[in-house]
């Protein structure tokens, strides 16, 4: 097993004909992901290396039965593409696009939640990799192999770093889920922790957070109350100065709220061991799993 993406994934890519869209779609396909369709308005009837392209997501779903959408369009079109995927009945929408306006995200989040039909991962996320099964997004899959550690992270490249540290110790992953660093992520730590808790393949969960917001604090309480599997935490941004925005819209600290130290404390208070470096995370994993 794995979570969210796997053998049952039938992927449609919104923005398939863009340079990056094509590159990563073909990467995902080469990895073994079942890519059934792409969407680019006005390019319906064409194909990308044999993957049929449609004008609308509805048509793509109708013709191919796609159940998962990857959004790879520029920020100004991304909210519309996500809503289109939701309207077309897609169950899992993975939005890679970075830089979507915050009010667009707010509207999209609340609409999707009100309807309760789709799950959104991202935006501004690296996607989801279930090693050995499917890769949807931009995670460099060759660094990871199948195993028992589930990883959920707000940051893309940091996820690779942690996954890589684990790999060097010989641990593989059930799934690696990047939830994205934006102000209003479609799914939060808790949503993914719940999935890993219920996934038989996952024996250990690594949760990688960063400064800003209170998603880690909320997750800490959830872990204490609902997660029986061991969880290792990591928080980036101990050296971030208050009030400064560090790249991610998420990575901003105001006052004592949302600092790395406060988050690490909150996690530890709920029984989660926190590694201070990616390497330390792997050390703790080795201790728990006995490598």
């Amino acid at each position: 097993m794995s979570v969210l993406v796997g053998a049952d994934t039938k992927l449609v890519v919104s923005g398939i004909t863009g340079r990056e869209g094509t590159f990563h779609t073909l990467n995902n396909q080469a990895y073994g992901t079942n890519v059934v369709a792409g969407v680019t308005p006005g390019k319906g009837g064409q194909n990308v290396e044999g993957i049929p392209v449609f004008d609308t997501l509805h048509k793509a779903v109708e013709e191919t039965g796609a159940n998962t959408a990857m959004i790879f369009v520029p920020p100004r079109f991304a909210a519309d593409s996500i809503l289109e995927a939701e309207d077309a009945g897609i169950e899992l929408i993975i939005a890679i696009t970075e830089g979507i306006p915050a009010h667009d995200e707010l509207r999209v989040y609340n609409h999707i939640k009100a309807n309760g039909r789709s799950r959104l991962i991202g935006p501004n996320c690296p996607g989801i990799l279930s090693p050995g099964k499917a890769n949807v997004g931009i995670i460099p899959a060759s660094f990871f192999r199948e195993g028992q550690v589930g990883v959920v992270s707000r940051s893309g490249t940091l996820t690779y770093q942690i996954g890589n540290e684990l790999a060097q110790r010989g641990f593989g992953n059930s799934s690696i889920v990047g939830i994205g660093g934006d102000p209003v992520p479609g799914s939060n730590f808790i949503d993914i922790l719940e999935l890993f808790e219920n996934d038989p393949q996952t024996e250990l969960i690594v949760m990688s957070g960063e400064i800003g917001g209170d998603a880690e604090e909320q997750a800490a309480e959830y872990i204490r109350d609902h997660v029986t599997k061991p969880v290792i935490g990591y928080i980036a941004g101990f050296t971030a100065p208050p009030g400064k925005q560090m790249g991610h819209a998420g990575a901003i600290v105001s006052g004592s709220k949302g600092t790395a130290a406060a988050k690490a404390e909150a996690l530890e208070a709920c029984g989660v061991r926190v590694g201070r470096t990616p390497t330390a995370v792997a050390d703790i994993a080795a201790e728990i799993l006995g490598a």
């Binding site: 609340n110 490249t157 209170d214 050296t239 998420g250 390497t279």
Partner: protein, 379 residues
């Protein structure tokens, strides 16, 4: 993007929020000309994005031309908590019967917008929140429904505003919400919101933060600048589309992805080093962006060593290597570089670097090793 007080108030005024009239000025002459137009008494207000400017002499009432000249002369160029005042705002003086507080905050945690109202305006609202939380009425607005009349009424009654301004305050909150939504703000704070002696209401001060990601839809807002707020390196990086934050140390840092860069700062600090900056080259950086980023990092003269920490996903390591090679060709850096490349096209990237054999560039295998090496080299 944070706006200066007067920029924020002009934005509010466009949506029908009453504000005192005024004019910005960057010189004493402009200030005097503005005051002559506005009339006396008027207020000379330093335009910097930091609280407490009043106590530090950044806000002065002028009764006549000579006083405007004097105050503008003193305030322009003044240092307020490390920021130099480049601009003042000359405003008609307002009489004040009551000072209230109103704000709208993009609440990430609640996934909706938080609207607050208090009759304890004109002071530090965080202190009010600590000492007398019930004095701040607040509620969340469902983004799909929007601000309704009852939200305004409820806030006004809960905050206990004077009976005669219940409706005007509600209307003003509706206009603030309209501004917040249409201009795509992340924060609008009016403190104080004043009731004048003739019972009209006005936004006397305004703190507005706009969403940088949405500026393409608001070209007129994208042009607003704050000459006082930007560090030269940060400005240079912004012009080049890089996310750069200046820090106090001597180790230049370049990475891809905010999380990895923050983690790199932490690991360098743990290894005993002091980072000079945060620089996220972003996803999918091409060689030119890397070259450009090296220039930004090295424009800070304190930098004695540079660390590249790349784990390529959408970023390709060969592009990073090409960018670094190009930087050596054009700007010929004199400080040592430590480079760690992993991820997409990492083998190709490492090969390019090996072939180029750049002077004083050290390739290392892991992030931890990279941090230790750069600390050693930075001295």
């Amino acid at each position: 993007m944070d706006l200066l007080e007067y920029q924020g108030k002009q934005l509010l005024a466009r949506h029908g929020v009453p504000v005192p009239s005024g004019k910005p000025a960057t010189t004493v002459d402009e200030a005097v000309a503005a005051a002559e137009e506005i009339g006396y008494p008027c207020v000379v207000k330093a335009q910097v994005q930091i609280g407490g400017r009043g106590k530090l002499g950044g806000i002065k009432v002028a009764a006549n031309r000579a006083e405007v000249e004097e105050h503008a002369g003193n305030i322009l160029g003044m240092d307020i908590k490390g920021l130099t005042v480049h601009e003042v705002w000359i405003e008609e003086a307002s009489d004040i019967a009551s000072e209230y507080y109103a704000s709208i905050v993009f609440d990430r945690s609640a996934k909706s917008s938080l609207v607050m109202l208090s009759t304890k305006g004109g002071m530090d609202i965080e202190a009010v929140a600590d000492e007398d939380p019930d004095a701040i009425a607040h509620l969340h607005v469902d983004p799909l429904l929007g601000f309704q009349d009852f939200h305004g009424r409820r806030l006004a009654f809960d905050a206990g505003v004077d009976a005669d301004v219940i409706r005007p305050i509600g209307d003003m909150l509706a206009k603030l919400y309209e501004t917040y939504l249409e201009e795509e703000a992340l924060l609008i704070e009016v403190n104080p919101l004043i009731i004048t002696n003739d019972r009209s209401i006005k936004a006397l001060d305004a703190k507005v933060t706009l969403d940088g990601n949405a500026l393409y839809r608001h070209p007129e807002n994208a042009e607003l600048t704050d000459p006082s707020a930007e560090d030269p390196q940060e400005k240079m990086a912004k012009e080049r589309g890089l996310t750069y934050v200046k820090l106090d140390g001597n180790i230049g840092i370049l990475g891809n992805g905010a999380g990895l860069v923050m983690s790199t700062l932490d690991v360098v600090a743990q290894a005993g080093g002091a980072p000079a900056n945060f620089l996220d080259a972003g996803g999918g950086s091409k060689a030119e962006a890397i070259t450009s980023a090296v220039e930004v990092i090295l424009s800070d003269s304190k930098v004695t060593a540079v660390l590249f920490n790349i784990f390529g996903g959408i970023t390709r390591c060969d592009e990073v290597a090409k960018g670094l090679i190009e930087a050596f060709a054009t700007i010929n850096p004199t400080v040592p570089f430590v480079v760690r490349l992993d991820g997409t096209n990492d083998v190709a990237g490492r090969e390019l670097l090996a072939e180029a054999a750049l002077p004083n560039v050290h390739t290392v295998a892991t992030m931890l090793e990279a941090a230790e090496k750069v600390v050693e080299l930075a001295g």
